[in-house]
């Protein structure tokens, strides 16, 4: 009974990503979209919060939103998957529910 969580706000502007990570359960996926994709880049204080998940939660990021913001995929934190729009749909279909963290 896994949940797909979407986060669309910059982690530097709101607490949405941290709150989402604090509520995600093992087996869930957290998908970063829109300004949420800034949370996927390495070299920031967020890496610790993500490492704290110990791999139980899958972290994914929407590639078109990354590209729009000029974030090279080489800068992503280890273990972050990129998906395209079709991959977003697949994730929504393969989880039991979707929860948006606005």
């Amino acid at each position: 009974m896994a949940t797909l969580h979407t986060v669309n706000k910059s982690p530097f502007a709101t607490q949405s990503l941290l709150s989402c990570l604090g509520h995600a359960k093992a087996g869930d996926t957290v998908l970063l979209i829109e300004d949420g994709v800034y949370g996927a880049a390495g070299g920031t204080g967020l890496a610790d919060a993500v490492a704290g998940l110990g791999g139980a939660v899958t972290l994914a990021v929407l590639a078109p939103d990354l590209k729009a913001r000029g974030i090279d995929e080489g800068r992503l934190m280890d273990g972050v998957k990129t998906v395209d729009y079709a991959g977003f749909v697949d994730l929504a279909a393969s989880h039991d529910r979707t929860q948006a963290w606005l």
Binding site: F12, D35, K67, G70
Partner: protein, 136 residues
């Protein structure tokens, strides 16, 4: 200071595409440039993301307005203050930002950088030295 010329600072604190603030700020700057005031732009917090290189918005269906920052020199907007702490917190350095320059009319059209990286306390001084501050 010339008569009637005021110091205007446009403060940019939002990332470029998630909200309309960044684009609106840029349009106001371009329109406001017609009034011959002493204009500066400040980029802090998520606003620093507006100036990053390599933006490509084709797949999200919105206009990529990052090239427009490079036109600001033509509008005599030549001071873009960028806060170093905001870059650091986001894992960015000055190298991640576009090259934005202007031609100095008073110095034989020499090309000079418009981006000025400043510390948080220097940014506070920039803000404190203005007549008008417009926030986005």
């Amino acid at each position: 200071m010339e008569d009637g010329v005021k110091k205007f600072l446009y403060v940019n604190r939002k990332a470029p595409y998630g909200t309309i603030y960044a684009l609106e700020a840029l349009e106001v700057v371009l329109i406001g440039a017609a009034f011959d005031q002493d204009v500066s732009l400040a980029f802090l917090d998520d606003g620093v993301f507006q100036l990053t290189k390599g933006q490509d918005t084709k797949e999200i269906g919105v206009k990529n307005f990052s090239p427009t920052f490079r036109a600001l020199g033509d509008y005599e907007v030549t001071k873009l203050y960028v806060e170093k702490e905001s870059l650091d917190e986001r894992g960015l350095t000055a190298d991640d930002l576009q090259d934005i320059t202007y031609e100095d009319e008073d110095d034989d059209w020499a090309e000079k950088p418009s981006i000025l990286i400043v510390s948080r306390s220097e940014m506070a001084d920039v803000m404190a030295g203005q007549d008008v501050i417009l926030s986005f």
